[in-house]
Every structure is written in structure tokens, then in C-alpha cells.
């Protein structure tokens, strides 16, 4: 229907102001655009805008589990685990527009991301007791650029599709610690450090902006 709308609707001027942005997925379902928490755009001038995409996810969970091995010794075990995690991403882009009801736009800006996960757990068995810690932290910085086209459906609705590329650097640290508190005294410590550079063409992002 979006493809047919241009033939049936009168052209409108490109909207200027503030907008919420949404992605369009299969069967015209709406989803997040460039941030899971908010995707917002505001004009700085008639032909320039900045947009912000943010994702914030924080969770804290505690759980208990118990299980019994029914074998010759009927071993019983129980455990509890606490997991805290957060996932943050922020992208900010400056865009330039050319055209009116149909416009081409391009721009770019920085992108920051941070994920953190920490878990502590205990396992109590008949003959021994284990304690383990897991800690993971990833931060990324980069640039994101886009080149797209936008069609103004009405004075408050614009439909756009854009090619997106990203240049990112990402660093990940993971530490795992596991040791037995009774019985065979063992201690295992694992550390991981990963650096990644990426120039990634992510393809097309299709969305709609609702101005207010």
C-alpha cells in the first residue's frame, strides 16, 4: 500500500520539526528503528536534522534450583544464582536533506555501546560445594553513516528507506572464576580479551517518521 500511496495522494511539503521514528518489518508491522528504547529526530534547520537512537536494557534476576541424581548414591544438589546485566547503546546522527516532498538525505555520527553481565552462583552437592563468578564487559565505539530517500505522505508522516554502513571498534573482557570450597580443592580461572574492528554494510533500514 505504501508503494501505491504516492499515486493516489497529493504531494505534501517535507515536514520539519520533531518526530518519533519506527521501523517497518514484514507485513507492515512496526518495530524499533535505530534504538530499542527510543528513536527521535528533530530538525536543526529546514534542511538539517539530528536524530537520536537509544537502547537501555537492565535486568537483575535471582534463582534457586535443586536436583537429585537417582543413581547408586542418590546424590542431591542445589544451587542459586544471581545475574545482573545491562545493555546500553546510543547513536546520534546529523542528516542533510535535499528535495521537498521527495528528498534524498545523507549523514552520519557516532555510536556508543556498552554491555555488562555479572553472575554469581553456588552449587551445593553432597560431598562438595562450588562457587563461581562470571563477569563480562563489552564496550564499542564507532561511526554510522546512511544514505536514503524519504517520501512525505502527509504533513506529519514520512516514509524512508536508507542504506546503512558502520565502522566500529569493540573490546570485550570476560573473567570466569570457579573453585570448590570443600572436598577436592580446585580453582579454575579463565580470562578472555577480544578486540574487534569492523566495517559493516548492514543493508537497508526501512521506516516511518511521525512528526508532532
Amino acid at each position: 500500500m505504501f508503494l501505491i500511496m504516492p499515486a493516489t495522494l497529493a504531494a505534501a511539503e517535507r515536514p520539519v520539526g520533531r518526530a518519533m521514528q519506527f521501523g517497518i518489518t514484514s507485513y507492515l508491522r512496526l518495530s524499533d528503528f535505530n534504538g530499542g528504547t527510543i528513536a527521535y529526530q528533530s530538525n536543526l534547520s529546514p534542511d538539517a536534522a539530528w536524530r537520536l537512537g537509544a537502547t537501555v536494557n537492565v535486568s537483575d534476576s535471582r534463582g534457586d534450583e535443586s536436583f537429585i541424581y537417582i543413581d547408586g548414591e542418590d546424590t542431591e544438589a542445589s544451587g542459586d544464582e544471581t545475574v545482573r546485566s545491562c545493555d546500553l547503546a546510543l547513536t546520534c546522527q546529523w542528516l542533510r536533506y535535499r528535495g521537498d516532498d521527495l528528498s534524498v538525505y545523507f549523514g552520519g555520527g557516532p555510536r556508543l555501546s556498552f554491555t555488562y553481565s555479572r553472575s554469581e552462583g553456588y552449587t551445593f552437592q553432597t560431598w562438595t560445594q562450588y562457587e563461581r563468578h562470571y563477569w563480562s564487559r563489552t564496550f564499542g565505539v564507532g561511526l554510522e553513516g546512511c544514505l536514503g530517500v524519504q517520501w512525505t505522505a502527509t504533513d506529519w508522516l514520512a516514509i524512508h528507506a536508507e542504506y546503512v554502513t558502520r565502522l566500529t571498534y569493540q573490546h570485550t573482557n570476560v573473567e570466569e572464576d570457579e573453585w570448590s570450597l570443600e572436598g577436592d580443592e580446585e580453582h579454575v580461572k579463565r580470562t578472555t580479551s577480544v578486540d574487534a574492528f569492523e566495517f559493516d554494510s548492514t543493508g537497508v533500514r526501512f521506516g516511518v517518521s511521525v512528526y508532532f
Binding site: 508503494l3 504516492p6 499515486a7 544514505l147 554494510s201
Partner: protein, 231 residues
Amino acid sequence: MSRGSVTVVAGVCLALLVAGVAAGEGVVARPSGEAIQFSIQSGFVVRDFGALTLAYQRYVAPDVALRLGLTLDLHHESGDYGQLYITEQEGEVYDESVEHGEWDHSGHLSCEWIWYRGERLALYYGGGPRIFYSSWRDEHSSFYTDYSWHRRQTVESYGAGIQSCLGMQWAVCDWLVLQAEYDAWFTYTRYSSTVQELRTGEAPRFTEEKDTSDRFTLDSRGVRMGLSVYY
């Protein structure tokens, strides 16, 4: 979405399409100028038109256009993995560490000259060269108390060929075109893979395996549907 809903949506689209054609017949000419191209996937999802970085088209004459497709991906990752294992009863300490590096590069560029016949509803056909390159290298080193083990794997492929298309397009308005096309390509691909392994310590050993192949392909991916937005 249920099949019935899809049918209803498709029916409404078709009705609007017919209405649009009736209303605009003889008014809308074939758009020309520059365009960015997108594909229409199942579920009416708009995606890339065969090139992830950009698909671009520009008219170079009234009935001739030049179409470019570009994909570029670069990836490098390096990591250190360490493991310390202590058994206090036995008084033993094992220290193991792993270094890992991975490089992944790929690129693709295609260029086609397209000829058009018709105005609002037009037949088009054309072709042009296509080149592509990809390489992947993986290095892995494991360090143990009394020996170390290293492995490097390199996979590289590159090629060139020609691709062609034959399609129909319909101008929805003076800046939007819907198109569907058959395409086919003939390519030559050179593939090579090398695996090297080195073990140090009391029984040092080095092995190397190489694998190369040449392949000629004549292939087609059927119909792809897309839209071009002229600006």
C-alpha cells in the same frame, strides 16, 4: 498475518494499483535521472537490491541507464584467552592460554548498462561486468606448560564475470518505479584454502595442506522485485 489477511491486503493493493493506473494513464512518463534502488522481499519488506552498501542507478542517455551495486565488509578480531588451573591438594598449577585472530574481508562490485523500451510501462534489458573478492584468515595459538600448538587457516576466493537482466517496470508516479526482472550471470571463481599447523616441544611437527579450485558458473536467481526512487 493469516493467509486471508494477506489476500485482503493484496486485493486492496491491486485495487489501488488499478485506480492509480486509470487516474494517471498518459500523465506519468518514465522517470529519469538518479535513483536509489531497493528490493521488495516477502511480507512487503524493503531491503537491499543485491548490494548491501549501495544500489544506485543513473540515466546516461534518454533510454540508457547505468546501474551500480556495491558491497563492502571488513572485519578483524583478535583475542587472548587464558586459563589457570590450580589443584591445591596436589600442589600443581596448569597455565594454559590461547591467542586467536580472525580477518574477514569481502567486496563485490557490479556495473550494468540498461536499455529501456516504453514509457510509463517499460521493458528493459542489459548487462555488464561483475567482480568479487573475499578472504578469511584464522590464526590460533595454544600455549601449554610443555608445548605450544599453532594453526593458521586462510581461505581466499575471487572472481569476475558478466551479469544480465531482463525486466519490466511501471512508473507509479514521476519519481517511483516498481520493477520485476529476471537476471543471470556467468562467473569464473578462483578458490584457495591453506591450513598450516605447527607443534613445538618434544615432538615438533609442521604440516601444510593446500586446496585450490577453479569454477565456472552460469546461474540465475529467478525473479527479483524492486523499486527505484528517483530524485
